[in-house]
Structure formats: C-alpha cells, structure tokens
Amino acid sequence: MFAGRSDLPFERDQSTRFLPWIVALMVFLGALMFAGALVVSSTISSWDSTLTGRMTVQVPHAAADDAAIDKLVAMLRETSGVARAAPVPDDIVRDLLAPWLGEGAIDAGLPVPALIDVELAPGARVNAALLAARLSDAIPGTAVDDHRAWLSALIDLGRAVEFLAYAILALIASAAVIAVVFTTRSGLAVHATIIELLHQMGAQDRYIAGQFQLQAMMLAARGGVAGAAAAAGVLFAIGWLARGIDSAFLPEISLSPFEWIALLIVPGTAIVIAMLTARLTVLRALARMP
C-alpha cells in the first residue's frame, strides 16, 4: 500500500516541472563560480607561499665584482631569519631577462645587475628596508626586493575576485530560494483541498511539510545532478584547453582531486536549500490555518 507515494499528487503540478531546470542552471553557474573561487584562492596561496619567503638582492652592474658579491652573501647569511643566500648564476639571469630584452641586448653589453637569491627561514620576517640600508652601506646602490609591492596588489585583486565569486554564489543561492518559495506556494495553492483534508484528519504541520520537502529534494536532486554534470564537463574542457597554454602570466587553471570533491558542495547545498525552503514555506503557510 502507498509504496512511498505522496498524499499529494505532485506529478500533476505543472509548476514543479520547471524547478529541476532552474536548479540545474543555478548549480551549473554556482559550480563554475565556486571552481573559479577555488582556482583564485589556490593561486593566491601559491603566490603567497612561493614569494613571501623569498627576497632578491640586486647589485648594480658597476659594483658587482666577486668580492662585493661574496661580502653581501656573507652579510646575508649572518642576518637573522635568512635561511639561505646564494648568487644567481649569470646564465639564469640571462634566461630570466631574455624574454623581455632579447638575447642580443644582453650580449651587446647591457649593464645587467647581479642578483642574490635569499630564502628566509619558515615564518621569519625580515625588514627589507633596513636590510637594504645595511647592504647599501657595504656596497653602494645595492637594493632589496621582497616582492611585496606588486604581490600585495595582486593578492588584493585575487581576494576581490574571490569575494566577488562568493557574492555571486550567494546571489545564485538567493535566486534558488525565491524559485523554491514560488514553486512551493504554487503547490500549496494547487493542493489546497487535499492539504485542508489532511489538516482536518489531524495531520501535524510537519507531516504535510515533509511531503513538500521530499518533493523539493527529489526535484532539486534531479536538477542538481544535471547542473553539476554540465559544470564538470565545462571545467574539464577549460582545464584541457588551459593545458596547452604555457605562460608565466596565467595561474594554473585546474582543480585538485580535493577541489573536485569540494565542488559537490554546490549541488548538495542546492538540495538542502530547496528542502529547507520548501519546509519553511509550508510551515509558515500552515501556521495561518486554525
């Protein structure tokens, strides 16, 4: 008997037919936004961890003889918080500059500064200005770049993009809530006679709300799976296309296995939002009955 059938004939309710489509679209957009936020977040972390613990000392070409470099390296190694200091070999400096200046420019005797790569101990903080002043006293013109100037601007931009992505996600969730509220209200109107009957039979509000909640869950699950599958397809495609691009400017556009699993939060949240919204909408409406 009943075999899991609802007291309410939801299958005849026209308004519920659109809910899976709406949820699918929301989950699709939400998953893309969430993936975007994850990529931005992991890129910021990677920049932060790669560059925060490093400094680059620049020695002017005119003063960059071996004795000056050795002196600076020795000073750096004695500096508290410095884990490692080593001159950057000329060929690496040449490789770094070649994309910007061209091979010919360097070979033509362009005065290229010498570089010393400094790695800080984990968690160590070194005041770049003070260090630069000390080194400059020893070898005039020596400068220290802790990458903070451009890194902090880049991180700020990244955080703003991340915040924007989450704000859009919140808007998508709000739109989903509104869609479920209207669908549920429509369902309440369509099934008013049966709801009245159940109410008269002594059904608790939660019994009736449970039926709407179950229906919303099934519809949202249908839409959620479809939307998540479509988003996964698009993300795979973007990842595949990005693999062919070899550029230092672009962050790595791919998700880790953990991030792929984390993406399941989007359809899961959509289902929970649909269930809770339907339940609360029905409970609020029923509370007006005697």
């Binding site: 059938r5 007291d7 004939p9 049966i194 039979m201 002594g202």
Partner: protein, 226 residues
C-alpha cells in the same frame, strides 16, 4: 463530548453567520443538523471539526476548551473527529484502500496494522472487491462508502456527516443511515447535516435546527420503522 457556549462566527468583516449558538452533545448521542441553505450548517460543522475558530464564544471538545488549547495539540483532537464531506473529497490518485488508510497514516499507525484494518473496514461497507479501485472508477454510492470508511477508520469519538445522502438514491441513503446508526451503537457520537425532512421523520433523532444563524434544539417524533 461537545459543547458550544454563545458561539458567534463571522468571516472577515462580514455579518455574523452564526449568532449565540449554544448546545451540548452527550457522548453516544445521535443528532441531525438541519436548516435552509445559507443558514450556517457548513460553518457550524467546520467549527465542530476545528477547521475554523469562532469569533466569539466557547467550544469544548472532548473536555478541552478549544480557545485555550495550543495549536500543536489540536491535531490530536481532530483525529477524534471523523468527517464525511458532501463532495466526499476522495483523493483521486490514491486507491480506495489508500484513501481509507490516510487518517491512520497521518496518525503514524504502522503499515501492517493499517493494511489489516482498512481491508476489514472496506469489506464491512461492502467494497471488499473494490479495494484497489481509483475513486473515479467508483459509483457515487461506492465513493460515499469509501468516504464513510475513511471517516471512521480511526474509530472517532465524534462523527460528522455533511449531506451524506444528498447524492445517492433512497435505497442507498437508507443503507447509509443504518450504517451510521450501527456506528452510533458502538458509542460514536453522530451528527448528520441534512435537508431531508423524510430522513428526520424516519429516524426521529434530536434535531439541531439552524435558522438564519441561530440554533434551536428540538426532537422530531419518528415514524415507526419496519
């Protein structure tokens, strides 16, 4: 069992459809409720099965003052009241068995118990061979009996029926009335709303007469029944 004290009822800012209605139903009694169309019968029935709250006056049902009863406790009281609607209100996508089982399901009775009770009751009302039929495939009389079975499956202490004989022929009407009397003999308090003077005279139970929103309780002498 049920007591109304100076009950008044109006919808919104409209005129009072019931005025100073006072009466009392003893446990196990059988009453007819009658009156012209628009006299307030349906409103009175709705107040009896707690679908409405009165705008004034007191209603006591099964020893509880309804105005003082918290909303979440009303469902338990409603389960003690069976209602047979004039338009049956059977749910078309459910079978006869499923329709009758609804009050038990709503009450949280276990599946196995539901099945046994429902089949037994439907057989008792003569529908043992139409258990899985959808309401739309049943005749008016059969639908009526499914509606009655649904109203009594929970063994209610008060049974209300709104024009239960209005849509059936005299033979079936008589049979239904005998069914209500059988239920009454088991201790169920019964109130039947009807327009039929013949029915009032035939069965001779006390009558709650509604006239333009005011209630009068009278006894109708019964004709001798064969």
């Amino acid at each position: 069992m049920l007591r109304f004290e100076n009950v008044g009822m109006r919808y919104g800012i409209g005129p009072e459809v019931l005025r100073d209605v006072s009466f009392s139903l003893a446990p196990g009694s059988f009453h007819f409720l009658t009156g012209a169309s628009g006299a307030g019968k349906t409103t009175l029935l709705k107040l009896m099965y707690l679908a409405l709250r009165p705008t004034r006056g007191l209603i006591h049902l099964l020893g509880r003052d309804i105005s003082m009863t918290p909303r979440h406790e009303l469902p338990a009281l409603r389960r003690q009241v069976g209602v047979v609607f004039q338009d049956f209100r059977l749910i078309d996508h459910l079978s006869a068995v499923e329709n009758v089982a609804m009050p038990l399901r709503v009450s949280g009775v276990l599946h196995a118990e539901v099945d046994a009770h429902v089949r037994e009751l439907l057989s008792w009302v003569g529908l043992g061979d139409r258990l899985d039929a959808r309401p739309s495939t049943l005749s008016g009389g059969q639908q009526q009996r499914v509606a009655i079975a649904r109203a009594v499956i929970n063994r209610p202490r008060l049974l209300l029926a709104d024009e239960p004989t209005g849509n059936v022929d005299d033979r079936i009407a008589l049979r239904l009335m005998h069914l209500f009397e059988e239920l009454n003999k088991t201790g169920t308090t019964v109130v039947i709303a009807t327009h039929s003077n013949a029915l009032l005279e035939e069965f001779g139970h006390p009558v709650l007469q509604l006239d333009d929103g005011e209630l009068d309780v009278r006894r109708t002498p019964s004709r001798s029944r064969s």
